[in-house]
């Protein structure tokens, strides 16, 4: 029994390290630390949140892969958009996302984030998350099982390790595009108070 578990752990970790890439050793080290430590924001945005406790507790124990929860967006690396996203929540997600520090990643859970899922004709949920936020990894299903969430995390970690997960750069570069889409559903007046050049900030200590 335990052997089987240890075997699984070994496989998962081996899977994590399987990606070989051509990076400078500094980048490699940096990305290695980044992928080995993932703080997930405690934000159950939709019904997928019900499978988060199993993922993070004793049965599936995401902490063995270095994945753990973080209370505030300031401390988090990953925001999980767990399922459908009503406009009211979308606004909070955008604000929260913009408060996270670079590099940051978005993991989208469930079919609803892909194409609206069950709620394709609902007047209050968005249908395609990537119009509003850059998504690093979609985990499909309604709802995704803890195993698939872990799988999604490992894929994300591999991409981080290879330096390929760069959705945050995409968000910076295409900020106007995202902002336009966000305004289209949230309305002009609900614009979060950051200015558009917020991301162009340079310098600092």
């Amino acid at each position: 029994m335990e052997e089987g578990f240890l075997l699984e752990q070994k496989t998962l970790e081996g899977d994590l390290n399987s990606e070989t890439s051509h990076q400078s050793s500094v980048d490699f080290l940096m990305n290695w630390f980044r992928k080995r430590s993932i703080f997930v924001l405690a934000y159950g945005t939709g019904c997928g949140a019900i499978e988060m406790p199993p993922t993070f507790t004793s049965r599936y124990d995401a902490e063995r892969l270095g994945i753990r929860g973080a209370a505030t967006p300031r401390q988090a690396d990953v925001i999980i958009v767990s399922g459908y996203c009503s406009y009211k929540t979308l606004r909070r997600i955008i604000r929260t996302y913009e408060q996270m520090s670079n590099p940051k990643y978005v993991l989208a859970l469930g079919s609803c984030t892909v194409n609206g899922g069950m709620y394709w004709d609902s007047y209050n949920t968005i249908k395609k998350l990537e119009d509003y936020l850059p998504v690093d990894m979609y985990v499909n299903g309604c709802m995704p099982r803890p195993e698939s969430i872990l799988e999604g995390f490992i894929e994300l970690q591999k991409e981080i390790g290879a330096g390929k997960a760069s959705s945050w750069q995409k968000y910076e570069e295409n900020h106007e595009f995202y902002r336009k889409n966000q305004e289209a559903v949230l309305g002009e007046k609900v614009e979060p108070s950051y200015e558009a050049d917020w991301y162009l900030y340079e310098g600092g200590l």
């Binding site: 967006p73 300031r74 909070r92 900030y201 600092g204």
Partner: protein, 550 residues
């Protein structure tokens, strides 16, 4: 080394002035306060009589300090009390004035009787005869004498139970005068305690216990207050509580003197700082201030130095005096008292943080505060001077030890050992302020260098509302300043609620009501409240005189 200035004989009463080291020490405190506060004067349109009365007040203070006999001391004390009354009357409400004058008069009365008791044993007012006179008194008379003296001094110090007038007066007095009250007039209480009690009697455990109780209770009272000046007033009471405590034990004089100096300097610094804030914003409550740090950065840093000293944190001067106080208590094995003092000192962190948070940190609680600017140099200069003194005393804690030793020698007490200015040595341990300061400073600089050179760049938040706020977005109308609320939760703790909720004012209000109804009888004969008080006082005085001389 004593220098007798003069000896005048009035009948068989000998009056004397003398310039002892102790007197000089307190004179320096007076000069320091007056010197620094003078900077501020030009910012305010003060009535001419204010200056005249201040001059009178300072004269009386020097008379108190340099008197070598009780009669001159008493005259000085009286003049001080009465000029204080007039100085207070510029801004203080009638009610508070009444409170003050009743307490001041009864304390004067008590002092006077006590002095007469000393005189009646040996027919001498001189300090030099006092100890002998006290020993000659009978058991009952001795206790009675001490009670009277301590009552008089406790009123001036505002020891808990006698602080009824003090907090209100501090709050309502003119900003400059509050600083003076806290920095100097309370030190006169300390001086009186040394002259009239410590030098006359054996160390009294009761005094130490009262001191500890005072500091603990005043600390918890301070935590609850919303007004900045009231917090500082309670803080003064608490700090004086330490001095009273340490004067109650043997070998406590060095700690008491050191702490007097530190407390004078730090309270001047804090009150001048707060005066600047009030001058700039017109607000004096935590619930109305906040977020001034980037508007008034220099004031912030100066207040920061002040509160570090007030907290007794190691690199600055506050620790040096605390260290002496702790050592004295440890040395005399008053271990529970020491725990009490340290407990009070640890509790003080809360109001100390509230002081700086409520005024400078957090969010501005009103739009007006966003347009505040740095105060003028006349506010800043004295603060820089005081901050320099405090930092120097932290780095070289033993700098004034030789001088304190002179005072101790003069009172024939054991002196502190002295190696060099950086090292403060007590009976139990020593610490090297220079090393602590330079270690902390060096590490701080190294960490800053390391931190600046890391890969991650610090990005300024766009505005003050860019905070992690559970996904929601605060705006101008959201109350985010926690200044008022700090420490309010303590009222939920059973033990502390007794301290926080009960107040001596209940007792005095009850007493006041009884007196008023009693005074209704006299009202038909006398008119005017004050005169009634005076008359009652005179009656009472006659009664007591008769009692003590019989």
């Amino acid at each position: 080394m004593m220098i007798n200035l003069s000896n005048y004989a009035l009948g068989h009463i000998v009056l004397a002035l003398e310039m002892s080291h102790l007197a000089n020490f307190f004179a320096v405190l007076i000069l320091l306060s007056m010197g620094t506060l003078l900077f501020l004067v030009k910012n305010y349109a003060l009535p001419k009589s204010f200056y005249a009365l201040s001059a009178l007040l300072s004269t009386s203070l020097f008379l108190i300090v340099y008197a070598a006999d009780y009669l001159l001391f008493f005259i000085g004390w009286e003049v001080m009390s009465i000029t204080t009354y007039f100085l207070l009357s510029f801004s203080v409400s009638q009610k508070t004035l009444h409170k003050y004058i009743i307490f001041a008069m009864s304390s004067a009365l008590a002092l006077f009787i006590a002095i007469l008791m000393i005189y009646s044993t040996q027919q001498s007012f001189l300090y030099s005869d006092a100890r002998e006179s006290f020993e000659l008194m009978g058991e009952f008379q001795g206790v009675f004498f001490l009670v009277l003296i301590l009552f008089a001094i406790f009123v001036k110090l505002g020891v808990i139970g006698f602080h009824y007038w003090l907090v209100d007066a501090y709050e309502e007095a003119h900003d400059i005068f509050t600083a003076f009250l806290s920095a100097v007039l309370s030190k006169m209480g300390v001086y009186a305690l040394i002259i009239l009690v410590v030098k006359v009697t054996q160390p009294m455990l009761a005094l130490a216990i009262i001191g500890v109780m005072t500091s603990i209770i005043a600390t918890f009272k301070a935590i609850q207050e919303d007004s900045v000046k009231r917090v500082l007033a309670y803080s003064s009471i608490a700090q004086l509580g330490y001095i009273v405590t340490v004067l109650g034990v043997a070998d406590g004089m060095s700690g008491a003197l050191y702490h007097s100096l530190i407390h004078t300097a730090v309270k001047l610094l804090l009150f001048i700082n707060i005066a600047g804030v009030i001058y700039m914003t017109g607000r004096d409550k935590f619930s109305q201030l906040g977020g001034l740090i980037y508007k008034m950065p220099q004031s912030f840093v100066l207040l920061l130095i002040g509160i570090i000293v007030l907290a007794g944190m190691p690199p600055l001067g506050g620790f040096s005096s605390k260290f002496l106080i702790y050592s004295a208590l440890l040395d005399t094995k008053y271990l529970l008292l020491l725990s009490g003092v340290m407990f009070s000192s640890a509790s003080a962190f809360l109001y100390i943080y509230k002081l700086i948070y409520g005024v400078y940190l957090g969010h501005p609680s009103h739009k007006k505060l966003e347009s505040a600017k740095e105060v003028s140099l006349s506010f800043l200069l004295p603060q820089y001077l005081l901050a320099f003194i405090l930092i120097t005393l932290g780095t070289f804690p033993a700098l004034i030890v030789p001088y304190i030793n002179e005072i101790l020698l003069e009172s024939s007490l054991t002196t502190l050992s002295f190696t060099h200015a950086g090292e403060l040595i007590s009976a139990f341990a020593q610490f090297n302020g220079l090393i602590v300061m330079s270690a902390f400073g060096t590490i701080f600089v190294l960490v800053v260098i390391f931190f600046v050179s890391t890969r991650s760049k610090a990005k300024e938040a766009k505005n003050r509302f860019d905070i992690a706020y559970c996904g929601e977005e605060p705006d101008e109308s959201t109350h985010l300043h926690y200044g008022y609320s700090m420490g309010k939760e303590l009222a939920r703790v059973g033990i502390l609620r007794a301290i926080i909720k009960n107040s001596s004012s209940h007792f005095y209000e009850y007493l006041g009501k009884q007196t008023l109804s009693f005074a209704e009888l006299f009202r038909k004969i006398y008119s005017g409240k004050l005169s009634v008080n005076f008359n009652i006082a005179i009656l009472f005085l006659l009664l007591l005189l008769w009692g003590s001389l019989r």
